[in-house]
Symmetry: C2
Subunit: 343 residues, 2 copies
């Protein structure tokens, strides 16, 4: 009845690596009043976790050395004293990096039930979870995507970025141009991830490529990267362009004094353009609707989630560091266990 857990062992100075974590075997928790005991099926990783590990976010409780590493996952309720989380249901929740967790509906953000059991549970960490919802919200609610938009996506091979072009197309817009690092990733952006064109930021002059592909400018930039590339985009905005700030992974790895200083920000005003950040969990009340929309697109073949899944809870630190070393395509996650058979 053990419960393996990953604890925070050290705070990373650059990117997260295995030595920043410690795997321990604790006891499986007992059910408590008002709570549900869940068995972890999948655990996700996200670039923002580096900021949790460094205590850089304002919206998360501080994470101390020796604390259970925070993270969301998909889990099966195996015992419950919580009517909203019945035994056998599949939830997406803040589980922490562990095999079993006690959860309740007072968590902020609260757990949500996966409703589309005809689709793989892993999708609860990709298209049917916050990363897919982030792509949808960013494109539609923040980016006000239009059919004729010329769309550029940075971090296009990443967890969110790998969903943006497909969802843009499902929303009636064109496929996007995706930016990623390396020829193999760029090849996959087109063959598997649904991009019309791929730009390799490690190869040649990306500005020349942007000039060619966006000769009339960029209408919608879905940004996962920040930094100098964002500045280049700011200089190429069309009138009433929209920049959706989803992430700025290039900045997370740099000390403040080394971060990019933007020369073209005032072009936002000149082009009557908009730049906006958002927090997916502010849209929690809409999750069931978003999940139904995206599930229908998956069933219709319009959206094909690209998932990069390693097996075993011991692979979690590596999964996280993969996000920073740039080696994965799609939504990176870890398969922890299969669900228990239910009566």
């Amino acid at each position: 009845m053990s419960n393996r857990q990953w604890l925070l062992a050290a705070r990373p100075e650059t990117y997260p690596q295995p030595e920043h974590f410690q795997l321990v075997a604790g006891d499986r928790p007992a059910l408590e009043p008002g709570k549900a005991l869940v068995k972890t099926l999948f655990l996700g990783v996200a670039p923002v976790m580096l900021r949790y590990m460094r205590n850089e976010t304002e919206f998360q409780a501080p994470l101390a050395i020796g604390d259970l590493m925070m993270g969301r996952g998909v889990a099966q309720v195996i015992a419950s004293d919580c009517p909203e989380l019945p035994v056998g249901s599949i939830v997406q929740a803040r589980l922490g990096w562990q095999e079993y967790a006690l959860i309740d509906t007072r968590q902020d953000p609260p757990p949500f039930l996966l409703a589309h059991h005809d689709l793989p549970y892993s999708h609860g960490l990709s298209s049917l979870g916050p990363s897919g919802f982030t792509a949808l919200i960013g494109l539609r609610e923040i980016g006000a995507v239009q059919p004729a938009d010329h769309i550029l996506v940075s971090g296009a091979a990443g967890g969110v970025g790998s969903q943006v072009s497909q969802i843009a197309k499902a929303l009636g817009a064109r496929k996007g141009v995706g930016i990623a690092g390396g020829p193999e990733k760029c090849r996959r952006l087109i063959s598997a991830v649904g991009y019309a064109e791929a730009l390799d930021y490690k190869q040649g002059n990306i500005n020349t490529a942007l000039d060619q592909l966006f000769s009339q400018g960029i209408d919608l930039y879905f940004d996962n990267v920040g930094g100098a590339l964002l500045d280049e985009v700011l200089s190429r905005l069309r009138r009433r362009a929209r920049i959706v700030i989803c992430g700025a992974i290039s900045e997370y790895l740099l000390p403040r004094e080394a971060q990019h200083r933007f020369a073209n920000l005032q072009n936002l005003g000149r082009q009557d353009a908009r730049m906006e950040g958002f927090f997916v969990f502010d849209y929690g009340q809409h999750y069931p609707d978003y999940a139904s929309e995206i599930a229908d697109w998956i069933r219709a073949g319009q959206v094909s989630p690209v998932e990069d899944i390693s097996r075993g809870i011991e692979t979690l630190p590596l999964a996280l560091s993969d996000l920073y070393t740039g080696s994965n395509v799609g939504v990176r996650m870890v398969h922890v266990a299969d669900p228990d058979p239910m009566p």
Copy 2:
């Protein structure tokens, strides 16, 4: 039957000065089919005119040396072959800097009729014209102003800035904190312009003052200035803050290589904040509604337009240069003539 006109004589390298203009006496135009002949009553000036003079805007036809200087004003229709512009009506339109103009409804943006004849016609260049509409649109449509917002306004003594705090209050929000240059302007920001507090950017350390007045951060920044001050604001955003980009006068006067480079832009993403520019003429269909709303506030004493009016068309170049030398408070305009008595 003469028609005095100001022509562009030279392109400014820094700010517009009298030597960049030439006053000539032409002939008063004859009425043409489909057009209206109007007599200029007031002419307005705006910081963006420097960009017209330098051909830096994309939305205006190029202005050649020797061309009539562009500009909007309030005028009386004195002869008409245009049913939408009947004789005796008062219009706000692109007149150019001249005493008489031929206008028609095919101009882009088109003329609009002043509907509230119980109020001074000069208001057609302040609260009942694009500068007042800019304050309203910026606060409400772009800034989504909320009752509890802590509001900061740069260029608070200027044509648009002098209207922002009053309109914010009329919209149910708090008065703003205004930034202007010099103790006399700051005194007037509070006594006449409707600001709760005034910050003198020429005196002391504005960052310390911002720290004190916005200890919990800034919710809404109405920016007329751009540059280093905008960067300071970016570092002080509250969650879901909004930056309304109305102008960037600090940048207009600088060559590109001297323009500010922004260190704190990524904070926009961290705070799930928004930054957006807009073009008042995109909202033309709503002008009658905006004018009615603001006219009601004026009648109720909630909005008191602050107008800085010099007399005589010969004062136009000086009126424009005043915007850049920072000597005026309120909407700067020139009174050109009184209306003809109408039968």
